[in-house]
Amino acid sequence: MRPSASEVQAGGLTDDASRSTAFRQLSERHLDRSYRLANVILRDPSEAEDAVHDAFVTAWRKWDSLRDLARFEAWFRRIVVNTCRDRLRRRARVTVTDLAQHHSLSAADHASRVDERVLLEGALRSLKPDDQILIVLRYDRDLRLDDIAGLLGIPTGTVKRRLHDAHGRLRRALERSEGPR
């Protein structure tokens, strides 16, 4: 678990100012992408903003555990995912009564698209947080299965199997919410 001597250790920056500068530079560089990731997972811009902020606070607290500055992005994106997972869990305990306010639906949205979005969001929210995360990440065109596995810290094979299961549960949740036609 300990870093090798050749590794550049973030916590090894003994000078406080250097650590602070490195943290701020990396934060700024990765903020936008992290926010987009959080927004995809949470599907709520304001909550995504809070989540990313909390993730950066966590990252600073854990700064000394970052062994290699070059691994900041992978390390931090995992913190973002974990922060979002916590928020999804808390969200699951809260009854959401007005889905529309969470979506900022544009005027251009067709009525059927609105229905589809509300149904889909409702079905997603009925799933366990990990299922939600798996599904939305799967539909991020920039992420491969290996990337998702890295973000979640589980093997790729596990991602495939759990994704298959989660997709089935989403389908059943949609069928329940749509009802018989």
Binding site: M1, S34, H53, L120
Partner: protein, 491 residues
Amino acid sequence: MMNDHELDLALERLVAEHKGIPAPRTLHERVWAIPTSTPPIVRRSSWLGGSRFATLFRATGLLVGAVIIALAGGLLFSAAQPSPVPDLVVPTAIASATPRVTVEPSPSALATSAPTDAPENTVQTDLLPGVDLEYEELSPGVFRVVSDGVRELTWDPADGGYGWGEGPARLRTVVGRDGSVWQFKEVGADEVAGCRDDGCLAFYRLGDPAIRHLGPRYFRWGDVEIGADGVVWAVVGRLDDDGLGAELRSFDGDGWTRQTANRMKAVRLALDADGAVWLSWFKLPAARTLVGHLVDGEWDVLGRDVEPETLVADPDYGVTVANTDGGLHRLGALGNAGDFVSLDGTALAGLELMVGDDGGYWWLSSPQPDTWQLVRYDDTDGWSTYDAPMDLRGYRIGGVSRGGEVWLYRDPLNGTRCEGVVAFDGSSWSRYMQGYCPFAMDLGQEGSVWLQATLGEIDLHEPEDGPIAVEPGLIETFVIAPWAPGDASME
């Protein structure tokens, strides 16, 4: 109804729309405002703004100010010093201006959660929101809780005639998923209605005057969990059933409900992050071992013949089963069989398994006689073993905090020295409450550590020529805040 293709397109649209939103300027400003002028603190969580506390406790100016105010006012309040942190929160109860353990605190070092004349610039340390705790601070961040506002929390086992192998050894401290803190103990017959003459097992939530009756003293409890809805779940059996006759009960505030059929002999219990109730049990007469979870009042069996030694809620699955065949079975909540991880010879010792929020498993292992190690496994980094600066024999893992610290204490039944508790943050060890023997521990959601302990030397080993040797002491309740710096480094 959407077909699969339409569903794929809808999901792609959903993701693309949210992904297309850039970070707002306010987020840049908020991240920029994160105070990084002080070194990062690995071991602290966000509980009460711990890093700020830690910084403040190091500030000589604050300590001088605290002492002056304490002397002038006759109360133990601390003052907030000017600080670059705008939302500074300062505890009112600082019993010692020096960061070391004070095992004999002054009686004047008492604070309550409702100070009447606190200086304007002080804010009360809220150890348990909503409960009027009365407490004193042993050392920075370590509090002795004297009362929960409705009862004294210090008690003498000798008063009830309890032997040390009974009362204190059967204590439980349980933090509920709703943040509430509960204590389980033996009580005398006059302390709770419905008790028999020889007393009974009972429990109460801190701050709630009600004491609940769980059963007669010849009962025992196994795992106890409290859900976010306040429902108490407990594996309950008789002391003489060898662990094979227990049942699962739930208590919703009005009364107990038996949740297992006659042929189910409950063994281990866990509540997962989503509140699902998991149980392992022997099924009679086939004597098979099953693991399942409760769905609409029915047990859904997901694991068969996995020989569960312990269950633990797993943030990445529903539950993980540690078993005697040397592996971890990870079971999902909705029927998927989950994964199996071989322990590769790092056998569980003491059948304690804990899992952190990051999905890493922690347990104690004894690869060779007289050699004990702390072991961690996670899917990314695999195996890691850690040697401790102290002998881990007889230690138990009390929990893993959200910040990733592993908390351990020596079970008094397994040792004679009172060594307090230790925390391991992945690289360094810290000791807290040296000189105390903890009997029960649980971790709060925000990283606080709740425990019941006694001060002094005890010896629960049975000498050759007599009964169990006992050095009696008071049982007291303590809280260690996540930002507590510890007595001393153990490196």
